[in-house]
């Protein structure tokens, strides 16, 4: 099989420059994402300091077992994602596909568990949406509502990023099936891997701030 040398896009001198530019672009983009969540975390931190007791109490109403299971799922998906990157470099199309599909399955599992958790909270009347009853068993019901507002916004925003990540993985699976140009794929694997790792890291922070800082 003749080896076709991949050509860079017209604005670049060579593949190395293109690779550096694309990876750096992704890193800078992730910085903006970090600050997007950063604003949310800053708000949460401030309100937690203002209403320490009721926030701790409200955190106790979240399901720690489900969130722990989700953490395990997501961290494992981080592993399979990293392995997919190795598989691309090793040039194994089959293994790459397996690891991508495994990552997708784990990601979907995470969303399933998250959805179940939201369903439970809805059942427990802790979902502060218009048309729903918000029934808080303790004192300071309104401040508890503030906690759940932030909880749903932050986990919702994270879930949205998971969906985007799954879409990205879907694209990768299609690209692997074509498998024309492993060189090109390295760059795309790295970029999607970075994104997935970022979503992973954000969850770790959500897990610690929302669930573990309880009573």
């Amino acid at each position: 099989m003749p080896i076709v040398k991949p050509a860079p896009a017209e604005q670049f001198d060579d593949m190395g420059q293109q690779r550096r530019a694309v990876l750096m672009g992704m890193w800078v983009f992730l910085v903006t994402e970090l600050l997007l969540f950063g604003g949310g975390f800053a708000m949460f931190a401030m309100y937690r300091v203002q209403h320490p007791q009721v926030f701790a109490e409200a955190a106790g109403h979240l399901s720690l077992p489900l969130a722990t299971a989700n953490t395990v799922l997501l961290l494992t998906s981080g592993l399979t994602m990293a392995l997919a990157e190795q598989a691309v470099e090793a040039g194994s199309r089959r293994l790459t596909l397996v690891f991508y599909l495994a990552t997708m399955a784990l990601g979907l599992g995470f969303l399933g568990v998250k959805g179940y958790e939201w369903y439970q909270e809805w059942q427990a009347q802790l979902m502060p949406l218009p048309g729903l009853v918000f029934a808080w068993p303790g004192n300071e019901s309104q401040q508890a509502e503030l906690f759940f507002n932030l909880y749903f916004i932050l986990t919702g925003l994270h879930a949205l990023h998971m969906v985007i990540g799954l879409g990205l993985l879907g694209v990768m699976v299609v690209l692997v099936q074509r498998w024309r140009d492993p060189h090109r794929l390295t760059r795309q694997t790295q970029v999607s891997g970075l994104y997935w790792a970022f979503v992973d890291v954000i969850w770790l922070f959500l897990f610690t701030t929302l669930y573990l800082l309880g009573p």
């Binding site: 604005q11 420059q17 910085v31 903006t32 600050l35 997007l36 708000m43 401040q143 509502e145």
Partner: protein
């Protein structure tokens, strides 16, 4: 060679397709110029309506509500859709790749996407603001915006949120281009100050815009879903909104002024034919301004009831920003010293910038003082101060840059006489409009009122008349630039005998900017 000359970037055709699907940074610059000019004149019409209302003490031309809607339109359009993208998206887009010696930006398709997001988002927002009568001012302060205003706040906020992505994409593109696309020999300390300024601006765009995005998202959620984050009845804090808002919007001021400073550095050096005085100091000052810009947001909130100790710190840092700003102003002045100065139109804009920016900057120091700010807060003094920076500074530099690089962008010259008249009209009209506002504010005229006591009428009339002169200063370039586009004399590659990579290629430049990628052997501004 002759075949090469004819293949410049505009000769690729004039079909709609060749413009709307282009990924050439030079053509995208033109797309931006068209959108931005449209937004600018819309915001300008709103400004003239405001000045018309303020000709007489009673509210006889606009109702109080109509006045609120008009100044909201003016602020929203001018800040979000004109000032923030103005220099980076137009001149920056055209010049960043050329100045670092690259064929294009790192991500040309993202660049085009960013224009689409900007233009469609902008038009959507403006339709919503006018149709929905948004009356919150450009700051969307809670709880008014979230709980009380009955206008189309959700749509307006969503529009500004969407346009934020365009800023982020431009920012990423400039940062990556500066890092990875420099020509051989173009070290960091050989970059023109225009590149440094846009680089620093991009850092701010990338770091600050997402925080604004999440904040606007929460206002929309609060109105749409009733999810109260800033709602006091839930224990939420409206002041938190102000903190998050100004965490973006104060650095945004530097998004507007830093690129202007970059432009002025090019103008002053070229038309005094001198090297820039203290290049490294200028670079440091640019980076220092962008850094300090992140720790001064609280000076917008001295009277809001934030902690006094926070106020003292914010006041201290605000004074500190004055140091690099003064370094820049003094270095420009020193650059003029013993220069061979020619008073071309771009230079008149550049010198106007120096004067107006100095006044705007010095009055900023008044406002950074905790005690004095209590007296001046929310008066016309503030209005005058930030117009001196944003209009006197940013818009003057934008026009100066446009006059400077116009021959490069189009390959044609414009009327020397008319451009000088326009530049002078801007300087005179601007001062006539906004200097009286300092006096008004100091004697107690609050901003955002459509009526006022008769004692203030003289100054208000002066200001309104000045705005007409100013409008002439803005309309004239539209006329002679359009004329130049079709009838202007050929400019040649370097009509100003300027230094810089962009002047070493043809005007208009070929599609990939250079026939062969240049090698850089010396620093910028190598004037003798």
């Amino acid at each position: 060679m002759t075949a090469e000359v004819h293949k410049h970037y505009l000769s690729g055709g004039w079909s709609l397709h060749s413009w709307l699907l282009t990924t050439d940074h030079k053509r995208i610059c033109w797309l931006y110029l068209v959108s931005i000019t449209g937004f600018f004149f819309l915001g300008g019409i709103a400004a003239l309506l405001i000045r018309l209302e303020l000709m007489t003490p009673p509210g006889d031309f606009l109702t109080a509500e109509g006045y609120n809607e008009t100044f909201s339109l003016h602020g929203i359009v001018m800040v979000w859709f004109f000032l923030i993208p103005s220099i980076p998206a137009t001149l920056g887009n055209f010049l960043m790749p050329m100045m670092v010696g690259a064929r294009d930006l790192a991500f040309p398709r993202l660049n085009l996407l960013s224009w689409y997001i900007y233009t469609l988002g902008g038009i959507f927002t403006i339709v919503m603001v006018i149709g929905g009568g948004v009356d919150t001012g450009w700051t969307f302060y809670t709880p008014y915006s979230s709980l009380f205003s009955s206008s189309a706040v959700i749509a307006a906020v969503a529009g500004v949120f969407i346009v934020g992505f365009s800023s982020i994409l431009t920012g990423i593109n400039f940062i990556v281009t500066t890092h990875t696309m420099r020509a051989p020999g173009m070290h960091w300390l050989r970059l023109p100050l225009f590149v440094w300024a846009n680089y620093a601006t991009s850092l701010i765009l990338v770091l600050a815009t997402p925080v604004l995005s999440v904040t606007l998202l929460l206002i929309a959620a609060e109105r749409l879903l009733g999810i109260g984050i800033f709602d006091p009845s839930l224990g939420g804090d409206p002041l938190l909104f102000q903190h998050l808002f100004w965490f973006y919007s104060h650095p945004a001021v530097y998004i507007m002024i830093l690129p202007a400073m970059g432009v002025v550095s090019e103008l002053i050096t070229c038309f005094s034919k001198n090297r820039i005085f203290g290049y490294k100091g200028m670079v440091l000052a640019i980076m220092a301004i962008s850094l300090f810009g992140f720790v001064v947001w609280g000076h917008h909130m001295f009277t809001s009831g934030q902690s006094l100790y926070a106020g003292i710190l914010f006041s201290f840092f605000s004074f500190l920003v004055a140091v690099p700003s003064a370094v820049k102003t003094l270095n420009w002045t020193a650059t003029l010293y013993r220069g061979r100065i020619t008073f071309t139109a771009p230079m008149i804009y550049g010198l106007s910038f120096l004067g107006l920016f100095a006044i705007g900057g010095l009055t900023g120091i008044f406002l950074a003082a905790l005690a004095l700010d209590v007296h001046l807060h929310d008066t016309y003094f503030i209005t005058a101060h930030f117009h001196y920076i944003m209009v006197g500074g940013a818009v003057t530099a934008y026009l100066g840059g446009l006059h400077f690089w116009w021959p490069k962008m189009t390959g044609r010259l414009y009327s020397e006489l008319w451009s000088k008249i326009a530049a002078l009209a801007l300087f005179i009209g601007f001062n006539l409009t906004f200097f009286p506002q300092f006096l008004l504010g100091y004697s107690g005229m609050p901003r955002r009122y459509h009526e006022y006591p008769e004692a203030f009428q003289l100054l208000h009339v002066m200001s309104s008349l000045g705005s007409v002169v100013l409008a002439i200063g803005y309309l004239l370039p539209l006329v002679y630039f359009t004329w130049s586009l079709f009838r202007g004399a050929p400019a040649g590659a370097n009509p100003w005998q300027a230094e810089g990579l962009e002047w070493r290629t043809a005007s208009p430049p070929p599609k990939h900017n250079f026939v062969s990628i240049p090698r850089v052997t010396e620093g910028p501004y190598a004037y003798r």
